[in-house]
């Protein structure tokens, strides 16, 4: 669906647009997708309006297979429920996910480590925190229950540490309690293992994981960034040996959908200064 001639120029889109579009590409048609609030929601709705018209959307507050007319501000928003197959509750949504219906989860995070462990709970020592964040919400649940999970994050060096302050959501190598030894996720989850983080889309690039070693590697750099620059933006030793090029820029049609159809109120995504020609 992306043809070269339709690709927008760098001044026609924002970094957030680029990330939204990159995230949308992670969705395959007919998948059941479990999404959090904000950019994840726009990415999924964009996929629904482009290459994945038959995706089924679950929100953790209880809406199953909804077809919102307007962008919800939260997964509890009445806007989620429009056109839904069933309006139910939290227990139902998580039970369905634990039962194994979910292909793809879409989440955010404050910190991520080399193995894809994500922190949304607190910064610094958990017992004496420098900053208390929101807490887990459904992050570890959606991640544990989905076959693939995509994270969308702001890229700062402190947000890509060697070890996150608190593992809120499990990556490819995790701690086995009570001892706390590091083990591969597959070993700990046993028959409940379904996959793990499949991509991190940051403000710098797109990252994937080697499922055997569990280590993160750089796949594409956003336009204007080099692999070496991005490696410098991580406190761990980022694998940049598998880069395949630049993150694909949005098309004019994707930009139009984001700003004129999906988020015209600029709730989550401000418009680029220069407007694209499409639409």
């Amino acid at each position: 669906m992306t043809s070269a001639r339709d690709t927008a120029q760098p001044d026609e889109y924002t970094l957030a647009d680029l990330m939204t579009v990159a995230a949308a590409r992670e969705v395959r048609d007919h998948e059941v997708v479990f999404a959090g609030t904000g950019m994840p929601m726009i990415s999924i709705m964009l996929a629904q309006k482009t290459h994945a018209p038959n995706l089924k959307l679950i929100f953790e507050a209880g809406t199953l297979d909804g077809r919102p007319r307007e962008l919800p501000t939260s997964v509890g928003d009445p806007r989620c429920e429009v056109g839904a197959s069933v309006a139910s509750g939290l227990y139902e949504a998580f039970s369905i996910a634990q039962r194994g219906y979910v292909d793809l989860g879409f989440l955010g995070g404050a910190e991520v480590d080399e193995y894809g462990n994500v922190n949304t709970t607190s910064i610094g020592d958990y017992l004496n925190p420098l900053l208390r964040l929101t807490g887990s919400g459904g992050n570890p649940d959606i991640n544990s229950f989905s076959q693939r999970t995509v994270y969308i994050m702001v890229h700062e060096k402190r947000r890509f540490p060697k070890h996150v302050s608190y593992i809120t959501s499990p990556g490819w190598r995790v701690k086995k309690w009570p001892s706390g030894e590091w083990v591969h996720r597959r070993e700990l989850y046993g028959s409940a293992f379904r996959g793990g983080p499949s991509a991190v889309i940051s403000t710098a690039g797109v990252f994937r994981f080697d499922e055997e070693t569990g280590r993160m590697y750089l796949e594409t750099c956003h336009p204007g960034k080099t692999p070496e620059e991005i490696r410098e933006l991580c406190e761990f030793d980022l694998d940049i040996s598998r880069v395949i090029g630049e993150t694909l820029a949005p098309t004019h049609e994707e930009i139009r959908l984001i700003h004129e159809v999906l988020d015209p109120e600029e709730i989550f995504l401000p418009r680029p200064k220069k407007r694209g020609s499409a639409g």
């Binding site: 209880g62 939260s74 509890g76 509750g89 227990y91 208390r132 499990p170 701690k175 046993g190 409940a192």
Partner: protein, 325 residues
Amino acid sequence: MTDRSKQITLSEAAEIIKDGTILSFSGFTIWRRPCALVYELIRQKRRHLHLIEVNSGPHSEFLIGAGCVDVWESCWIGHELYGKYGANLARKVRQKEIVYEDYSHAEMAFRFQAAASGMPFMATQTSLGTDIHNPEYDMLARAGLRNGKNPKIPRKKYEFVDDPFFGDGRQTLVPAAKVDVSVLAVQQVGEEGTVRIAGQFFTDPEVCRAADITIVVAEEIVPEDYLRRESHLNKIPSFQVDYVVEGPWGAHPTGMFGFYDVDGEFLRNFYMQTRSQEGFNEFAKEWIFGLNHDGYLNKLGVPRLARLKANTALHYSTRVERGKK
């Protein structure tokens, strides 16, 4: 056939919730939280509350900021788009003025379902390998609260067992979330207690049944017979509700499906203002103390509430400003 009246006032409802109560709520983040009753608890200077809840929101930020809360046991707190996290909880955590206990959201949902079903625990495979299961981070144990003195507080945060039936490996048993009093904000309740919830029902049926006492604050009290004509639309049966309060706009500044939208401006201001205790105290002075529910609504004013009012066809407001545009 009409049961004895369960109807009481907001102020009487708040008096039912004593110091030290284990308390839970209807709703989810910034939707259908019983704020009018929460304000009244603050006015009555309730202390030592133990909040136990799924994703939290403004209602608990109010209580925590006002110093009503000793223990917050949940998985998330914030204002969604209108405030990145719970600034009052964050401040109290930093100052060690509150006990916090973190579970995952699914774990909390399963804990309420267990309590609602009379089961001491449920089994789950979520969150394995995370610090949520770190035994050093059992905060109720650290605070000495898992000593069995309060029969509703489990003696352990978790128990790991191996599935004996299918060879499915490690299961986490999460304990029932047992509640003293639950407070629900809903659209409609009948005179005998039958509750009709429109839209997503979150964990309201479970939270109600997990509690020994349930207080329902409804936008309207309607004839019981009206609700019983379509019983499949109702979510909570009469006999699970102990008290009912009629409180229009009772969830403001949070939203109520079909009745009104979230007051984002109110929440954004609250979040910005209450990052310091002084800021919270000013907020409370302006919006909580010295007002009753009618005074609060009057202060908000008719045009503001009219903007929030939901469109009948869509169940949400089309007049509220949400983003930059």
